[in-house]
Symmetry: C3
Subunit: 404 residues, 3 copies
């Protein structure tokens, strides 16, 4: 606590020239820092099959006895606090501490600064908790995503898409302008994570302490091409590697046998490495988007009663169309995803099989409101509870998103 009235004090104190040169752009705090955010409210309705037994990592309001849910309630504090530094602080107000029976507490998603090495902001380091530049949909804000949830194949790589570390980005001018345009124009770009990104981070995921004395490394490459007719196409690839410490295994009963799996990995954790590729043909008006990943990571081997390194693979493909008119913007889409691999975030890292087809439409009558409706056929492993059964069910999903 510094003096009480620091920010907007009218007390006649002697204002002196600070020995450290200020590079602040404005004397008004509200010109340096902006505040915005969004809220997502959901409702899932069972529509056949074993929908009541479905569980999905992307939405805790899927399953039986669910009503309305607040999926995300975000507040973003951000701004160019000086010529060479911008900050970004984003708590989520719909988070739950472990063990709490009430929900909707405020927990950090992002807390980072971009520090620019040059005036043109071509080179920068992003220091703090931020998105790990692996995958494309993982980098795209949930505020902009068309589908309800991210594809599990890619999203099972980095917990909450984020980690704590240092990330270096190279964004030459033309690419930076395109990244910005693709986001602001309503084309649902992913934002600017450079055409080249290189990062070093803890590796256990957002808001989790590190558990080994090693850092993960990630390399990110992408480029937004623009055709003569104005059509944008983004193509890229990423890779990361590190050691991941799974949670302490607990006793499971599968197929008549009850056992507590051992962890077949050295003290610094299990092998955790993936490569991914993405292609996005932006919806002008027809669009296409696909990603694929392969890699290796910890996975429960029921036969051997151990959690050991196994291979994984999966991805998704999506087609969409953007209708613009007096009614606003209307975007129907079809998304198919698949995943075969371990669910390393969950206790015992069970094998997760996902085959899901979503058909939906997002309507944005004005910039501030988005209404999405989707029909989903999900075939998913329930990775939350042994014996990790496969469930097949259908859902009608509704989302109201409020942007402010």
């Amino acid at each position: 606590a510094t003096q009480s009235a620091t920010a907007v004090s009218a007390t006649p104190v002697a204002v002196v020239a600070a020995p450290v040169a200020s590079s602040v752009k404005s004397s008004k705090w509200y010109d340096r820092i902006g505040l915005r955010g969004y809220v997502q409210m959901r409702y899932n309705q069972e529509a056949g099959g074993d929908a009541k037994d479905l569980r999905a990592p992307g939405d805790k309001f899927i399953g039986k006895d669910q009503g309305f849910g607040i999926r995300r309630a975000r507040v973003v504090l951000s701004g160019d606090v000086s010529d060479r530094m911008s900050i970004y602080l984003q708590p989520d107000l719909a988070s739950t501490p472990t063990g709490s029976s009430t929900t909707n507490f405020a927990q950090l998603r992002d807390a980072y600064a971009d520090i620019y090495f040059d005036k043109a902001k071509t080179f920068r380091v992003r220091a703090g908790q931020s998105k790990v530049p692996y995958g494309w949909e993982d980098l795209q804000s949930s505020q902009n995503r068309l589908a309800m949830d991210r594809a599990d194949a890619l999203n099972s790589a980095v917990r909450d898409e984020r980690d704590l570390g240092l990330f270096f980005y190279y964004s030459p001018g033309v690419a930076a302008e395109r990244f910005s345009y693709l986001q602001k124009s309503g084309l649902k770009g992913s934002g600017d994570y450079g055409v080249v990104g290189l990062g070093f981070y803890n590796g256990q995921g957002a808001n989790r302490p590190d558990r080994n004395d090693q850092l993960h490394t990630v390399l990110h490459l992408t480029y937004p091409f623009k055709f003569a007719n104005g059509q944008y196409l983004e193509v890229g690839a990423d890779a990361y590697a590190g050691r991941y410490k799974v949670a302490s295994p607990t006793s499971v009963s599968i197929g008549g046998s009850t056992f507590t799996p051992s962890v077949n990995a050295p003290a610094e954790g299990s092998v955790d490495r993936r490569v991914a590729a993405h292609v996005i043909y932006y919806p002008q008006p027809f669009g296409f988007q696909a990603e694929w990943t392969v890699g290796r990571g910890p996975e429960l081997d029921v036969a051997r009663k151990t959690i050991r390194t196994k291979s994984l693979r999966g991805g998704y493909a999506q087609v969409m169309y953007k209708f613009d008119g007096e009614f606003g913007s209307l975007m129907p889409y079809v998304k198919w995803q698949t995943y075969r691999g371990g669910s390393k975030f969950d206790t015992n890292a069970p094998r997760m099989l996902v085959d899901e087809l979503d058909v939906g439409v997002e309507w944005q009558p004005v910039k501030e409101v988005e209404i999405a409706v989707a029909y989903a056929n999900m075939r998913r492993t329930d990775v939350t509870t042994a014996p990790y059964a496969r469930v097949d069910g259908n859902l009608i999903r509704l989302q109201l998103q409020l942007n402010y």
Copy 2:
């Protein structure tokens, strides 16, 4: 995370016309969104009887070995983000997750948007977590309430007065202006929840996931009459119905018998329905305020060792007087409340008997500061711990409220 410097970027990016028409009123975020709030600090002093054994749902700082407490620390982000939508986000910074030994975490109270169906804002839907329009004192902000706590008869209906859902309000112009005046004038109105309100919500209370596949329904009617001499009178009634899932019962020892109550209700939960009526004769300068409710809800039946649907009833009456002068505003009041019914929020839903008399005064020297002193005679069931004893005690209660 979108691009880092979204809000107040000075980077020369190509700004393009968004295909979705913006209905935003101002280009400055701080003209669209406002920030305000209040903090309540309390001190309760035992003043006779078994005051040390008192427990009250409205104030966790009642009881033995208590010092100062922060009852509420609210921050409100709100504003008309477009012609047709306003948002309201209110975290409380004095909340505690279950199981945490430290307190004062940030947890949502409100997170909603009002979406208006007409230009005059006569019809709207409020989507998100917001107050359930049942009762009048429950809708009045704690920032405006004269008495320290809400009456239990009405406040035992909806946990933290709020739930997640869709609420439709009809506020014709004259009524809307009066609701606004009654709040801004210092007359301590409840705000605008329509002259007619109809809502559908989860039913388990604020920040709690739903536990059945049904919604609660609430209907709200109220009207602010204005007499020729300028005196305001508000009269109304509300009703709600739904199924409430009580917490898992735990073993209790009452009257020499130890048992774990069974729950006598179907899988979707216990009957939970109430009707209520209110009359408020606003303090110009003399005021009178009363509410009464009857209904049915889950309640522990000790003789049958079960939690079953039983009837409940109760309410309160309050007289107050508003002195205005150079000293600011001074409002003495006397409030009497009673309740006979189950405490459904508490484990085992014990029967709760409340008879309480409060005599107090609130002094508001300037708009930013309110000091309240009250003497309370409480006769209350301790619903937190079996055998759910009735306690009779007296308290001197102090509150300092800071509005910003």
Copy 3:
């Protein structure tokens, strides 16, 4: 929840003269309230000895298997909301509720108002949760501190440096101007806690409920002298007294014996009282800073298997030098600290022996960024786990601080 669009409503409601006179300075909320903050990101690297076994109260990222950590993520809402009142709300977004496996939740640090008794703001009461005016380094913001962590001798007095209560401060004009200058000039002052301060507070520490029916009392004296050559010297002393309730003891195994300590104290808690003195010769450019404390408090007596009142003592001394130039501000320092006494915040209140030497440098290239590097030789009791072993190890410590 009051009416939705309170803050920046454009709805044409009848605006009336409030009966309570407003003393608000500006009609714009953003001129009354300001928002700023800072984030500290750390990395500790073992550098010899038993560094992996080190544990320190000031930094949970010390110890084995640690990577990057967010030590503090602060957001400050503050401002002069009227002529006679200023408010200060500071959540930390890097806090963890007890029992949660994920971190970085928002929890209050400060929540107080300064209410001024005179126009010149010479006399004021600070009501709410705020820093307890004991010690000098404890009052200095972590945003301004040169060393990574506070000295344990003084910081073991008040949990998180703060408590809930009423604090009266006397700040005559000359001293108030100097306190302000010493902070804003980059000389790393502690802010204005008066030349005389007197406070009454719960005594169990920030964000912890009181546990007895007594308040702690603190008295604070300090004065910032200014020599003819412009050199500042601050000298002062403080004292506090009260009763502290230690946590419930748990079973420990020490020296072949296993026992659960008894607590040798009355129901209202253990004796808890200290006096402290400080001297700060501000770095213009050479600086010197030292504090010492003695007192009595609860401490585990292994021989008697009890927690009883024992004496404690300790302090620190620091020398520093401030280089200013085109590179910004560079401040090398050497800090030595020692402590011999109980660690009352920890279960069983074990005896804590600390001898630590830090050699470091803080570089502030621009006002918004601070980079600190330090080498530390720590000899510390691990007070988190019995048998409370003494550990000797060396660390290289890095901190990146972002001010916004």
